[in-house]
Assembly symmetry: C2
Homo-oligomer: 327 residues x 2
């Protein structure tokens, strides 16, 4: 079978992650990075990798089997994914949970009309965590779901801190509360408040003359983002922030705690510990891009999610090899 030819739109952390992930998959080639910036300004890591202006995608003639969309969920993907799904098979990691249904419908309509295949909301949450929530619910219908995130940097919370007057830069770690995790693991199916599940730790660089007490107060009382959590605010220097908080670790836990009809307790736990959140997400995107290329070749059209794809499609191995070695 010919190699899967990928294109990437957007060369931020995720696009760079896809470039790296492709190196670990012999059956997948990265054909080009497409960018809305001046291609001259985009320095890719891989020698010889083409960087092209996004406009060339409009012909629908770029030599790619799948286009991975590496834009943001707030404004990029709601426009980009339906648009490009009318031209190419696409993969995105749209992660605004509440807006998934409308995003799915828009992408599905575009892909169906064009005879293309798309997967949305592919990554680890939504993505692998969703798969585990689904499987847990099916297998243990009498039970409770628990999802914990971290320890890891939340981009949204870091951004929220940066918008406070007097803040030069900031990083925010979401941290699961170990005792809450243990309570879930005990099988007691605890009801946990927001505050009981996660704490938030902030590392903040102040602008000159900013009032640390006022900044801390604004963080700790910020509705939705921090007010419902036990929050720690640490003020550090720009240098310290760069040295100690430039990595993008993340992870988390999905648990399904349930019981059989006889009352026997069962616990399913799935967890990720990731030194690099974007690089891991990119690994997931590339695996699902392989699946999308195959499903498209089989004639499947429209939008899909991780729920709709048989796991064998993710693998470069054939069914007989999978059964012999991994079943």
């Amino acid at each position: 079978m010919a190699n899967v030819r990928l294109g990437v739109l957007g060369y931020g952390n995720l696009g760079r992650g896809v470039e790296l992930a492709v190196r670990q998959n012999d059956d997948i080639d990265l054909v080009a990075v497409y960018t809305r910036r001046d291609p001259e300004d985009v320095e890719v890591e891989t020698e010889g990798l083409a960087v092209k202006p996004a406009e060339v995608l409009e012909t629908g003639e770029e030599p790619i089997d799948v286009l991975i969309l590496c834009g943001g969920s707030a404004t990029d993907l709601p426009e980009q994914t339906p648009h490009y799904a009318s031209l190419y098979n696409v993969v995105d990691s749209f992660d605004t949970h509440a807006r998934i249904p409308e995003h799915f419908d828009a992408v599905n309509a575009a892909a169906e009309a064009a005879g293309k295949t798309a997967i949305i909301s592919c990554g680890w949450d939504p993505g692998l965590f969703s798969l585990n929530r689904l499987m847990g619910n099916c297998i243990l219908p009498d039970g409770a779901d628990y999802t914990f995130w971290g320890k890891g940097i939340s981009q949204g919370h870091s951004d929220a801190i940066r918008r406070i007057p007097g803040v030069a830069d900031a990083k925010q770690y979401t941290i699961p509360v170990e005792s809450a995790l243990e309570a879930v693991r005990s099988g007691s199916n605890p009801e946990l408040t927001t505050r009981q599940k996660h704490t938030r730790e902030c590392f903040v660089v102040l602008e000159k003359d900013a009032d640390p007490n006022e900044v801390a107060r604004q963080i700790e009382t910020m509705p939705n983002y921090f007010a419902d959590y036990d929050t720690t605010v640490n003020f550090i220097t720009k240098k310290e922030l760069k040295r100690n908080h430039s990595a993008m670790p993340h992870g988390g836990f999905v648990l399904r705690s349930g019981q059989s009809a006889s009352g026997a307790k069962m616990l399913i736990e799935y967890s990720l510990k990731l030194d690099s959140n974007p690089e891991f997400t990119s690994c997931v995107l590339v695996s699902y891009a392989r699946a999308i290329a195959r499903l498209s070749a089989e004639g499947k059209t429209g939008a899909l999610t991780v729920f709709d794809i048989a796991p064998a499609y993710l693998s470069p191995l054939d069914g007989a090899e999978l059964r012999a070695h991994l079943l």
Copy 2:
């Protein structure tokens, strides 16, 4: 959609587990238990549940959408699954890993010829653990797999002890070595010997006049089963065995420890903690029976494994509900 109508062949721990699991799934009905014993001798838990002789299945006319085969992997399933796959859609939990390829081929040939749909090797290992091995390998191609089992009772090892002269009864627990698990979680990708991964703990009831030292020696030196492990042998009374070791707990861990092309370390961990091994396996069987009924209705034929089934098929919810609530 009409309820899925199940039949169960064999009423041991697994068949009883299916009977229980069906109670937790409103869209699934258990139509009958089929048995090779005298139906009069089979006491089912559910009032009014039909118990029929296995021979009636031969007509191919029993009013069931899927037949769950609850026999053993050693001798029952290699014969039963291909046979019944020529008459009904079937589900089995065949777990002799080394013989899966030939079993698959036999079931596939029978099911294809009859236009039926089958899933083999469905449970947690093979089954859910296999899914996690597959996903881990796809997402982190540069990495290592680790599977630990326990703490739980190994039927095979318990049987092996019972065959020793002088042993009246026995139960054997397989126990993962916590320090080995921690070494894997550290990301160091250790090479672990059999002895380093699991210990074995045996609870043995002796026959009158049996020599405990000789029995212990025979257990500890038994090739394949115990010789490569640190094994503890405890002699207890028949009463103690019944009181303290009648439950069938099990569980285990599947880990994929890998790294991205930049060297960022990633760990995926999946674990199960089960108060009842057979009841959990039955929950998995029933979820996949739902999937098989649907796939058959869609015209899919032949043998499948957990690798070949999109997770959405396991759920009673439709795609829109799944996307809105679980993605």
